[in-house]
């Protein structure tokens, strides 16, 4: 009797071991499917459930029950993947672009990179030296001048040490303005008012024209700032342009700013 019981328990133990192995294999398959190694439809769900049911009554230990639960949870994930796969297949690669863009925006870089890595199988390619490229390289090498010969071409000559410079010199070179811009604009406004005198407006070109073209361009630029900042108004009547200085600076905030390009003709020096 004891022998029979022992044989029976050995048999049950062997059976349980086989069942555990089956469940572990099932879990491994499910994990492989989750990792996109296999098509989710390669797994027969009803057969997998039959295996789970077959061994359900054999489990006595907590570890076995946990294994059973894990297998069931893995199967559920595969069913979910099958559903997702079907949905995707029915759409033939179609995903709503706006939804996709929203998703892409919401996803982190690591997440996106991870998704690509799961579907990416890079090509294996070896770069190698061929006879023509080797010949080309050899030709380049033999024709190349020695380092010191090449260096001579870039000899910068004696290097002068840095020296300090004065503000007048920088002004002469046109690198800095002699006065602050605001002060310059004020003086220009006063000049406009003086030139206008008792008149309300004066001819644009009469005011802007300088000693030479460069000065004319500078004065035209300052005149444009006078108008923009509300020191004067520019009026256009046919071909005539007039500037009217204001008594006080004022900008009409409700007005819409309009660009008014004025070309400086060649004849104006």
């Amino acid at each position: 009797m004891a022998n029979i019981l022992q044989t029976g328990s050995k048999h049950a133990g062997r059976k349980r071991g086989g069942a555990r192995r089956e469940l572990k294999e099932l879990i491994e398959t499910c994990v492989a499917i989750e990792n996109r190694r296999f098509n989710p439809f390669l797994l027969d769900i009803s057969e997998a459930l039959r295996i789970l049911r077959l061994h359900a009554e054999e489990w006595t230990e907590l570890g076995d029950h946990l294994l059973d639960m894990k297998a069931l949870a893995s199967l559920a994930k595969v069913v979910g993947l099958q559903s997702a796969n079907l949905r995707f297949q029915s759409s033939t690669l179609y995903v709503d672009p706006s939804m996709l863009q929203e998703k892409l925006r919401g996803m982190s870089r690591d997440q996106l990179a991870g998704l690509l890595l799961l579907s990416w199988h890079p090509i294996v390619e070896f770069e190698q030296l061929t006879v023509p490229t080797a010949r080309e390289a050899l030709d380049y090498w033999t024709k190349m001048l020695p380092f010191f010969e090449r260096w001579k071409r870039f000899q910068p000559g004696p290097i002068s040490l840095p020296v300090t410079t004065e503000a007048e010199e920088l002004h002469r070179l046109g690198m800095i303005a002699d006065k602050a811009f605001g002060k310059k604009l004020d003086e220009f406004w006063i000049e406009l008012k003086q030139m206008a005198g008792t008149k309300t407006k004066i001819d644009y070109w009469a005011f802007v024209k300088g000693q030479n073209r460069s000065e004319t361009v500078s004065r035209a630029q300052l005149a444009s700032f006078l108008v923009t900042y509300g020191y004067a108004t520019l009026e256009s009547e046919g071909r005539e342009l007039t500037l009217a200085p204001k008594v006080q600076q004022s900008i009409r905030k409700e007005a819409t700013p309009v660009s008014f390009p004025i070309a400086i003709p060649r004849e104006v020096k």
Partner: protein, 246 residues
């Protein structure tokens, strides 16, 4: 070291054999040594591997007609055999339509419209990808670019694409990255400035899988990015041991 000894031993044996054969000529005891017959299938297999692995032009791999000329008419059987051999190394032979690679015209033979590549059978982990010179930003930008092009049914304006890439890789790197993707063949640009999928994408990326993954994914906060990186590296799948042959 053992190998050296073995080689030396074999050399010794060979020299002994040759000495014996010399004696044999005189004594007529040993029959003259016969040349081993060349193993044609393995030679063709090697040639196929060389043709597919070594890059000879701008595009890697080999065209069908090149393989036909180099291996013979039964090149497809040789490639199947090569594919079997490569399984062990987690590599596979992939057949891609040459249309889009700019080397196929409709007048060509039906079989000639394919190009063959050797590619990774499984996938790379983030760590492996980084070690092979890919930045995570670049991979993210490529994923975004490809999924956007697919969602727009294969074509998208360059500007729209650049806006999307800029969100993942930054504004300054976008132009360089787009050019890199175009140069390496992941994307293609036509004369109207429309971007489409390039030959490399067709050869390397499982687009249905990518699109499904993107569609299923739940957006993750950027704050959690650091922890996600480490967890991703731990849980990333290793290259599979088995995968259906294509």
């Amino acid at each position: 070291m053992e190998e050296v000894q073995t080689e030396r031993e074999s050399e010794q044996e060979t020299s002994d054999e040759s000495a014996q054969s010399d004696q044999g000529v005189n004594q007529q005891i040993v029959s003259p040594p016969t040349q081993p017959e060349p193993s044609y299938p393995s030679e063709r297999l090697k040639r196929a591997a060389h043709m597919l692995f070594f890059k000879r032009g701008r595009v890697p791999g080999a065209k069908a007609w090149e393989l036909k000329a180099g291996i013979g008419k039964s090149y497809e059987k040789v490639l199947d055999q090569l594919d079997e051999e490569l399984k062990e190394l987690d590599l596979q032979v992939k057949k891609v339509e040459a249309e889009g690679i700019g080397e196929y015209s409709p007048e060509d033979d039906e079989a000639d419209k394919f190009r063959y590549f050797v590619r990774l059978r499984g996938t790379l982990t983030p760590k492996e990808a980084r070690m092979s010179g890919w930045r995570i930003d670049n991979l993210a930008a490529l994923a975004a670019a490809l999924s956007l092009v697919v969602s727009k049914q294969g074509k998208v304006e360059r500007k729209e694409l650049e806006i999307m890439i800029a969100e993942k890789a930054g504004r300054w790197r976008t132009l360089t990255l787009t050019d890199t993707f175009l140069r390496t063949g992941y994307l293609e640009e036509d004369e109207t400035g429309m971007i489409s999928l390039g030959w490399r994408t067709k050869a390397e990326v499982e687009l249905p899988s990518l699109m499904m993954l993107v569609a299923e994914a739940k957006p993750q906060d950027d704050d959690a990015e650091v922890s996600a990186t480490s967890s991703m590296e731990e849980s990333a799948p290793r290259p599979p041991e088995e995968q259906p042959t294509e």
